[in-house]
């Protein structure tokens, strides 16, 4: 692989910390300014990532920095801090920055009067940086460090509002995540034990002669570890508590990016550490596929049963992430591409949905689906954005969701896994069942007394609506201009080519 | 030159005679005489020590009778080392006595008797150590026992007399046993001279009667040394005697008993055919182990400071005798070393306990709470020497404990080693009680933290601290006594 040395990754990584210098001063003046700065920084990050895209699409590996925490001699415990970016890493960073940008802009209005603004903005920015750290991690050591940091920083974001519900949710989150992180650590150590190094970007560092049993152990550990973040079925207990409890922008990044982080880690494990060949040889994909399918089915059903919108969306997140894992684990080019594009698609649409829910609440509305009758008339922009994003989630044709599901399904057929296809379709059906009623209620049902008391003046400031509109627009545009360079699909091709060794 | 041996005995004896004569008017004069006698004999001993260390054993047959017949005074390495210890302590105790006795015995007449008896002790103790034959040992043993009884009983407390009588009866019984043993021994071997005996031991064919004789002697010395089942006299005697005398009793007298046992064991070691010998050894070992445990537990249960120390002596004698009875190289070495070390530590402890008693008139730990602040130097010495008794390095108690332990393991008796260590562990507990009472309990129920310093007079503090330092010094620079003792042991084994 062609490598290029450039310090740019460090700059991108450190950029969010820039805000930390300003926030203490700014929050004393006005919170809005802090929010603007935070949004500005996200935008800056986004812009700085953009120039990397053409390079990585050409298959380059950008190598930025290597800091050795332990000298390189006989005693080598792999404590190397290294930042490198291939297409997958840049892609992930780019998606994350985008979601962050949307959420940050949204925060300007949403968090105008929040308590503890300093804590929020600092952590919000820091989390972005940690996500970059994960995206650009050159080895599992680096990845683990930022993974852990991200876990802990997530805690105050969830508990931000300091209601008893939020605190309980945050507690649940941290317990789940710490257990997961411990397993991730164990996985990392297992990798070290098996491969003797922790390098990523080598497409299979584990020696080919490794037994299937140990690979299975490794993958199961990895699945259980990363699975907590990506909310695989038995490990998803935290997600439906945390999302509703967190403030809307935080939910957006949680659902858009945090869960993706788990999937990202798992994909790295599957393709970078174990490698496609070993996966195929040992038929290891099933270890991931089966839980993913179960998750898709069950969490969708659970989502259908929820009245609280954010809870419903949270369960849906759990299901949608499983699509990504499914795509990665089916080990066919199409499904892998489908999974990868779904990372971006899902991030954007789910962020949009959560931001919409936040906007509704901000306007004085209720989070309960049963009390949303006639909401479309009162806040049309927001509800339209919600509908578009929702339809995309269901997978209605011109939207993004359709593309990814299509790819996944064809990928599953490629490896003749009809069961997966059936469940995919069932999952789509179920997602229609839990999203469409909301749209239906908002636009077609009469405004009854139950509806929350929202003033007729359409409380829709630009800072609230613009991100929603962008998000909704993107989820359509990306579906229409699928192949535009820089859009997910172009990444997915490069990534799958490199992962599958073509 | 050899006459020094005699002089060492004669000078204090003369002191004992002159003191009552000169001291009729003033008790200070008696004190001065005792002091001069002690000093003189001490300096003679130092000179003698130099001679012995450079030339080896020195002996002096009294009246020019041949060695196996007459009375012989002799000084070998062991004797000289012990002499130095004993007389240095004796000298310091003499100095210490001055203030203490002034308060204890208001009548000048009794003070004079006190010094007279002290001089007798100072004469009898070296004589006992230097005795070259068993009978001379017995004579001086009786002499200093008698003096000691008188000194125990001289105190003001009524119990002192009773304790004195008790000691007298038991020690006389012990003396009789010793005499009987000596008689038997000389009947079967034809001599009482230690050197001769040592030589003849190897050629004895009929071992059993000799063993019986020696066992009887050992029992007799065991009474003097207060070895476990024979210790009944000790706690009261030590507890109620005047403190300087407690120091002598605990620091020297019982050690001299142990020295007697040591000499007997030296004889036993020479026996070629060892039929019952291991049996005797075993019994001695078990007795001393029991002594170690019993003494320590007894000390833990006591309330009275001096009684604690007395019980601790029972325990420490156990160490000495255990080391001796193991009769392995290290064991003997440790036992002998502990004679010296225990002498120094225990006399320092009793002297400092005496200083507390002298100033506060309080004996029990409960009453003594917080005295550490009031009398920092006396209590400090107590605390420091206590460390030695517990056996914490680098204080001297540790070194002997070390050797005794090694001796036990060398003799293949791991269990005894563990018992020794267990004893030292138990001694921590009673030491802890003392320290707690002296320093860490609030004074006057915590109302008043400032305590006026009310320290014992210098004449008492100096001996205490010299002994305290000695107990540390002997621990750190333990080569000094050990090199001579090693030669001694090597010669015997």
């Amino acid at each position: 692989m062609q490598t290029e040395y450039s310090p740019i990754l460090i700059f991108i990584f450190l950029l969010p910390f820039l805000g930390l210098a300003f926030y203490p001063v700014l929050v004393k003046r006005s919170i809005i300014w802090a929010a603007y700065v935070s949004a500005f920084i996200c935008a800056l990050c986004f812009l700085m990532i953009t120039p990397l895209i053409p390079q990585v699409l050409r298959g380059k590996l950008i190598v930025s920095s290597t800091i050795y925490f332990s000298p390189q001699n006989t005693f080598n415990p792999q404590m190397v801090f290294s930042l490198r970016a291939d297409a997958f890493g840049v892609y992930f960073a780019w998606v994350s920055a985008l979601v962050w940008l949307l959420a940050a802009v949204f925060s300007c209005e949403y968090l105008k009067q929040t308590a503890h603004p300093l804590r929020y903005f600092c952590l919000f920015s820091a989390c972005l940086s940690f996500v970059f750290g994960i995206a650009f991690a050159g080895n599992l050591f680096t990845l683990f460090i930022f993974y852990e940091l991200l876990t802990i920083s997530g805690y105050p974001l969830i508990a931000h509002e300091e209601t008893s519900q939020a605190k309980a949710a945050a507690k649940k989150y941290i317990i789940y995540s710490l257990l997961g992180d411990a397993l991730v650590l164990f996985t990392v150590l297992l990798v070290y034990y098996m491969a003797g190094n922790l390098e990523l970007h080598r497409r299979g560092t584990i020696p080919a002669q490794t037994g299937v049993e140990s690979l299975r152990l490794l993958l199961v550990c990895g699945l259980l570890g990363f699975g907590v973040k990506s909310a695989i079925m038995p490990l998803h207990g935290w997600i439906y508590e945390a999302h509703p409890a967190a403030p809307a922008p935080a939910s957006a990044v949680l659902s858009g990016v945090f869960v993706n982080v788990g999937a990202y880690g798992l994909i790295r494990l599957i393709y970078d550490v174990i490698g496609f060949r070993l996966m195929r040889q040992g038929a290891l994909g099933m270890i991931v596929v089966f839980p993913a399918l179960v998750t898709i089915l069950l969490t969708s059903i659970q989502a259908y049963n929820q009245d609280n919108l954010k809870r419903r969306l949270a369960y849906s997140t759990s299901a949608q992430i499983s699509y990504i894992l499914l795509g990665a684990a089916l080990l066919s080019p199409n499904s892998l591409q489908g999974g990868i594009i779904h990372m971006a698609y899902h991030a954007i649409m789910k962020a949009t949905l959560f931001l919409c829910a936040g906007a509704i609440v901000k306007a004085g509305g209720s989070e309960d689906v049963s009390r949303m009758n006639g909401l479309g008339a009162k806040m049309p922009l927001i509800m339209i954005a919600f509908s578009i994003a929702g339809l995309s989630l269901v997978g209605i044709p011109p939207t993004t969701g359709f593309i990814s599901k299509w790819m996944l399904a064809t990928g599953a057929l490629e490896v003749s896994d009809t069961g997966s296809v059936v469940i995919l379709l069932l999952g789509s059906l179920l997602s229609a069942l839990y999203i469409l009623p909301v749209i239906y209620a908002a636009f077609l049902k009469k405004d009854t007394d139950q509806t929350a008391d929202i003033s007729e003046t359409n409380y829709q400031p630009a800072a609230l609506t613009v991100p929603l509109i962008i998000g909704a627009a993107l989820s359509v545009l990306m579906g229409i201009f699928v192949n535009l360079p820089g859009f997910p699909f172009s990444f997915a091709r490069v990534i799958s080519a490199s992962f599958l060794g073509r | 030159m050899e006459k020094i041996l005699l002089l060492i005995v004669i000078i204090p004896l003369m002191g004992a005679i002159i003191a009552p004569l000169l001291g009729q008017k003033k008790s200070q004069a008696a004190f001065m005489i005792a002091l001069i006698a002690a000093l003189l004999s001490w300096s003679l001993i130092v000179f003698l020590a130099g001679q012995v260390f450079s030339h080896g054993r020195i002996s002096y047959p009294l009246g020019n009778w041949g060695a196996s017949w007459g009375i012989e005074l002799a000084a070998d390495y062991l004797t000289v080392v012990l002499l130095l210890t004993v007389n240095s302590i004796g000298l310091l105790i003499t100095i210490y006595s001055y203030s203490y006795i002034e308060k204890l015995l208001p009548e000048a007449k009794r003070r004079i008797y006190y010094y007279c008896l002290l001089c007798m002790l100072l004469a009898a103790m070296p004589a006992f150590l230097m005795a070259g034959d068993l009978f001379t040992m017995f004579v001086y043993l009786s002499l200093f026992s008698l003096a000691a009884v008188a000194l125990i009983a001289i105190g003001r407390e009524r119990q002192a007399i009773l304790a004195g009588l008790r000691y007298l009866i038991l020690s006389t019984t012990g003396g009789v046993l010793i005499l009987l043993g000596i008689a038997l021994l000389s009947y079967f071997t034809g001599t009482m001279n230690l050197n001769e005996l040592t030589k003849r031991m190897a050629h004895i064919t009929n071992v059993k009667p000799v063993l019986v004789a020696i066992s009887i002697i050992i029992i007799g010395f065991g009474v003097k040394a207060a070895l476990f089942p024979l210790h009944l006299w000790l706690p009261d005697a030590h507890g109620f005697a005047p403190s300087p005398i407690s120091a002598i009793l605990s620091g020297i007298l019982i050690e001299l008993g142990a020295y007697g046992i040591l000499r007997c064991v030296f004889l036993l070691v020479q026996l070629k055919s060892r039929e019952i010998y291991p049996f005797i050894n075993n019994i001695l070992c078990w007795m001393s182990v029991l002594a170690i445990i019993y003494g320590a537990v007894g000390a833990i249960l006591q309330q009275d400071l001096k009684l604690i120390l007395a019980y601790s002596s029972v325990s420490q004698i156990g160490y000495i005798v255990l080391g001796i009875a193991l009769s392995s190289y290290y064991g003997l070495l440790g036992g002998m070393l502990h004679i010296i070390n225990h002498a120094v530590m225990k006399s320092a402890l009793f002297l400092s306990a005496g200083a507390l008693l002298y100033k506060t008139d309080k004996r029990t730990l409960k009453e003594l709470e917080g005295v550490g602040k009031q009398m920092p130097y006396s209590a400090g010495a107590l605390a420091l020497t206590g460390i030695a008794i517990v056996g914490i390095p680098p204080a001297c108690g540790f070194v002997s404990e070390w050797y005794i332990c090694m001796g036990a393991i060398q003799a293949g008796r791991m269990g005894f080693a563990i018992c020794v260590l267990g004893g030292s562990f138990l001694s921590t507990i009673y030491y802890l009680r003392i320290i707690n009472a002296l320093y860490f309990k609030p004074v006057n129920g915590g109302k008043d933290t400032r305590v006026a310093i009310n320290e014992a007079p210098l004449g008492m503090l100096v001996p205490i601290w010299i002994l305290t330092f000695a107990s540390l010094w002997l621990g750190i620079f333990n080569r000094w006594p050990l090199q001579w003792l090693e030669k001694m042991v090597a010669g015997i084994l």
């Binding site: 105050p156 507690k171 164990f186 034990y193 | 390095p393 030292s424 562990f425 921590t428 320093y439 750190i476």
Partner: protein, 497 residues
């Protein structure tokens, strides 16, 4: 390479300086506290400087040795310093300085300041003596002195509980001391000397049952101070001591002395090979594992802050043993780094606990609500140290635990990896709720925290900063790492400097 010149004299000198300071303060006990403080801080500075003088030599893997006199035949009272000992001495003397500064403020209104300083300095001298001991005997000597000198510090408050705790401590320690002495005697009889030599001195030819027994007695001896599982009972009770004492003694000096002793036994008396031959390493690993998990579980149940920290110490210390006994390069480095880093984190926690107590009077965990707002600086430092103890990335604790985990992997001991990881999780289990309480819960009282002198906050922040710096900056932890590597090389390849 053994250095000559005046440098070896530094070893006894450091010990002497501490002891002399102790006596100086005792002599000046009636003088105002300011003089004591100056003497204390000054002497701590001198000590640190003296220890630092040795650094260049140690860096070049040299050793210094200095024989004082012979105690028993072929056993000298002798000092010698190699990497491990130096690291321990460096830790001790550095934290010593901080503690001295901290104590100045903390003990301001104490009833018996002179006594406090006196024994604290005696302890310090003994700790340095332990660190510089050239043979088992010298180590034992100072170890016992340390035992005795710690006692007055524990019972310093003179309350009945304090005396009870002190008694417990002494009974435990003396039991350990006697066991230790027995093992010394056996070792001496087996080897004829007690010098530390990499690779061990005990002969292979000795009967295995004797060697095993010897090992058990050694473990009982050092296990008390290093709070290995069944012998840990004294430490939580000993928390009744003044906080600086808890900080320096129960986070750094005393407990580390025990661990240091075990390391010396494992490395220099038995040798790792013999240990493996006797299967003793398995025992030790099991013991350490039990202690790690058990200590953490006990910590979870505590309601008193300092007691919780004590149990945390119990659990953290066993990582050191775990690492070294695994006998892999990373494991040894991890163990040694843990020795260093655990102390900086724990001392920071104790400093903060003391500062919290001083500022708000809070000593129970239940009362810690809202402290994050009241005393942000202290709680900030506390949080960093707590996260460090958990082993959070970016802190010192992470690095050592990473090495440990790597070491366990190198040794192929998956179970131990599990122990390390679950120990870390349990740590999180009792530290995070505490932070949560401090930052997210309302305070019960409106009372504001009292302002605190820089003398107390300074050490808190400095140590917390160090936790971060060691975790983040390579050049900061270069020194310990380098030393740890040298030690590991020495341990594994018997390279004797």
């Amino acid at each position: 390479m053994v250095c000559g010149g005046v440098f070896p004299l530094i070893l006894p000198l450091t010990v002497l300086v501490s002891y002399l300071t102790a006596f100086l303060i005792w002599i000046l006990r009636d003088k105002p506290a300011q003089i004591h403080n100056r003497a204390a801080v000054g002497s701590a500075l001198i000590n640190l400087a003296l220890v630092l003088c040795l650094l260049p030599g140690i860096w070049r893997e040299a050793a210094f040795s200095c024989n004082l006199f012979t105690f028993i035949p072929s056993v000298d009272i002798a000092f010698r310093v190699d990497g491990l000992g130096y690291l321990f001495a460096l830790i001790a003397s550095f934290y010593w300085l901080l503690t001295a500064i901290y104590s100045v403020e903390y003990m301001r209104n104490d009833k018996f300041p002179a006594r406090y300083w006196f024994f604290l300095f005696l302890c310090m001298g003994s700790v340095l003596g332990i660190a510089f001991a050239a043979n088992l005997f010298t180590l034992f000597l100072f170890y016992e002195i340390l035992t005795i000198c710690t006692y007055p510090l524990i019972v310093h408050a003179q309350t009945p509980q304090a005396i009870k705790a002190g008694r417990k401590y002494l009974v435990y320690s003396m039991a350990g001391g006697t066991a230790l002495m027995l093992s010394l005697v056996i070792t001496y009889l087996l080897c004829g000397h007690l010098d530390f030599r990499p690779g061990g001195i005990l002969p292979d030819s000795a009967s295995y049952s004797i060697l095993r027994l010897l090992f058990i007695t050694f473990m009982v001896g050092f296990g008390v101070k290093s709070v290995i599982f069944p012998l840990h009972g004294w430490l939580p009770d000993a928390m009744i001591a003044p906080t600086p004492v808890s900080a320096i003694l129960h986070a750094v000096a005393v407990v580390k002395a025990g661990v240091y002793g075990i390391l010396r036994i494992v490395i220099d008396i038995f040798g790792l090979q013999l240990l493996q031959k006797l299967h003793l390493n398995e025992w030790l690993l099991a013991l350490a594992g039990i202690t790690i998990i058990g200590g953490s579980l006990m910590a979870l149940r505590q309601t008193n802050l300092k007691k919780m920290l004590a149990y945390s110490t119990i659990s953290q210390l066993s990582y050191i043993i775990l690492g070294v006994v695994m006998a892999t390069p990373s494991g040894i480095i991890g163990g040694i780094l843990q020795m260093l880093y655990q102390s900086v984190m724990k001392i920071s926690l104790f400093f903060c606990a003391g500062a919290i107590y001083r500022q708000t009077g809070v000593s129970e965990i239940a009362d810690m609500g809202g402290l994050g707002e009241k005393i942000p600086l202290t709680m900030f430092a506390f949080s960093i140290a707590a996260l460090g103890t958990i082993g959070f990335p970016g802190t010192a604790g992470f690095i050592s635990k990473w090495y440990l985990a790597m070491g366990a992997m190198e040794a192929g001991r998956f179970f131990m990896v599990g122990v390390i990881i679950s120990g870390t999780l349990l740590n999180a289990g009792y530290y995070l709720p505490l932070l949560y309480k401090a930052f997210f819960q309302e305070s019960l009282t409106r009372q504001k925290g009292q302002a605190l002198s820089l003398l107390m906050t300074g050490p808190c922040l400095l140590t917390a900063g160090l936790v971060l710096a060691l975790g983040l900056c390579l050049w900061v932890h270069k020194l310990p790492l380098h030393l740890a590597q040298n030690i590991a090389e020495g341990v594994l390849y018997f390279k004797c400097p």
